[in-house]
């Protein structure tokens, strides 16, 4: 016979049929209600998918235009990672009641202008601009947006999205670091540093005009932090305790 402790008597920490547990462990702090409903989630995902597709195509196209072999190989590797991300989104869409899994839409014209500018460099000596566009503008933006999404969506009802975001964020963190290492290594002169900074600023302003991958409010939303109840002190606390004592006395005398 297992000795009953106070917590196991409440079903917590018990073993077998006396463990009156919820379908998740008691330390699970996930939230049931997230920032968006199903339709709103789909609307964001088709924007993500648009960007991942454009990004993967550009990384593929740039390979042939970079004379630096290590850069050529870097973008070839990352090309597939973004195509895979787009494909994860494609598979998630029908799970969210979207019948057209090929939907893929920019949020507004300004975002299209941003992506067109980002993918514009072609000449062999523009490796710096190509890398800066991807690793200093596009990837940091994705890291911010995907992390935001992972934090605010319901991690119970929308947990398939949270899970695939984990894979993408893992790739993007690695890409961010690999890209920055390459940029640091290539930017050997003040001139190259200036070019990197100027191009980053130009793209960032365009991204700002668009409001982000989902348009204005890409990272916005209502604060949904669970707040503890306000403190009850002084007179109010004394009255509340008195009332409780009277209820208890009445119960014991009857």
């Amino acid at each position: 016979m297992v000795e009953q402790t106070e917590s196991s008597a409440n079903g917590v920490g018990a073993y077998g049929i006396t463990r009156h547990a919820q379908p998740f462990p008691y330390w699970d702090r996930r939230r049931l209600v997230g920032e968006w409903d199903v339709e709103q989630s789909v609307q964001r995902i088709v924007h993500y998918k648009y960007f991942e597709e454009r990004l993967s195509a550009a990384l593929g196209g740039w390979g042939a235009t970079m004379p630096e072999m290590d850069c050529k190989n870097l973008v070839a590797r990352h090309c597939y990672e973004h195509a895979w991300h787009a494909d994860l989104w494609r598979k998630r869409l029908p799970e969210l009641r979207e019948v057209n899994e090929d939907r893929s839409e920019p949020p507004n014209d300004a975002f299209v202008r941003f992506v067109d500018k980002l993918t514009e460099p072609f000449d062999h000596d523009l490796t710096m601009e190509k890398l800066v566009g991807i690793y200093r503008v596009a990837i940091p933006h994705l890291l911010a947006v995907y992390t935001f999404h992972q934090h605010v969506t319901s991690d119970i009802t929308d947990s398939p999205t949270v899970r695939i975001l984990g894979f993408m964020l893992q790739d993007d963190h690695k890409q961010y670091v690999e890209g920055e290492m390459m940029i640091q290594d290539l930017a050997a002169t003040p001139e190259l540093r200036k070019r990197a900074g100027a191009w980053q600023l130009e793209l960032d302003l365009l991204l700002g005009e668009a409001g982000g991958i989902c348009g204005p409010g890409t990272l916005g939303g209502l604060p949904k932090i669970q707040k503890p109840p306000h403190a009850v002190l002084g007179d109010e606390l004394r009255k509340r305790r008195e009332a409780a004592r009277k209820v208890a006395e009445a119960a014991s005398s009857s």
């Binding site: 597709e53 454009r54 993967s56 195509a57 550009a58 990384l59 593929g60 196209g61 740039w62 390979g63 042939a64 235009t65 970079m66 004379p67 630096e68 072999m69 050529k72 190989n73 973008v75 070839a76 590797r77 090309c79 597939y80 990672e81 973004h82 195509a83 895979w84 787009a86 494909d87 494609r90 090929d102 993918t119 514009e120 460099p121 072609f122 062999h124």
Partner: protein, 291 residues
Amino acid sequence: MKKFMTSDELARDDRFTRSSLPLDFLMAEEVTVEQIETTMTTLLSNPDMLKSMEDEGGAASLLSGGPRLNPEEERAKLTMKTQMHGIFMGEMQALEAAGRSAWDFQDNEELPWEFQLDMCRQTWDEGRHVEIYSALLDHVDCEIGEFNENLFLFEFGCSDDPAERVTGVNRCLEGLALDVFQQTIRFGKAADDETIAQSVDFVSADEVTHVKFGQVWAKALTEGDPERRQKIVNFQRKVDRAFSLGGLRGGSYDGGATEAFLPIAREFRKVAGFSDEEIDEVAGAGPKVTS
């Protein structure tokens, strides 16, 4: 970024030099032994390698006298260096060709998303092959840029028509890769060189997938359109003829051929979806050789 690059626009660092493409030779329906000799001389361009070919009896020996490479032969190392450098450049062009397919056809209505996914996947795989072959170059004491690059794989493979592109790159170029890799794996085993045999074995497994991409997409793009199908078949014959290097490719390992310069990897090609008939067509794609 512009679409549809030409082969002379491919970016390289300054270690690389290019030899000009013998286009007329590669396209000809009939070639002479002398022409083969001249072309090989241009393509090889490395004095040591040229001397080695002469010692073996010239280009004619490539056609008749089975230079199946014995790893103990004097010329073994130099030949491996030449071949591996050529494949290294081929892998780089394959990376570039697959990546350009992802870019060039991204908004082509005819092509579903899966096409782009396949092309991006191939881009990554070819990048890995570039890494593997650069390590193998080191393994056989070859420097990057030690031999000239010729751009005929990209040149012939990269058509602006997606059906021709996948046929040229994925069926013809990758098919040629299967033939070459089978030869290299055998060489590696014969030399008791696990580094060569095992790494190329993995590379060739990837290439089978790439050939499959070509089979699937060429078929999908020409389904129910006999005219286009015929156009693609003609294009394929043209590229297969060019890739036969003047008829040096033929025979097959599985048929026990030991005399051909570059036998066809029949079994690998079958796994990739080639029919016997199609393999015979590739084997017979070379020009007529006259003396």
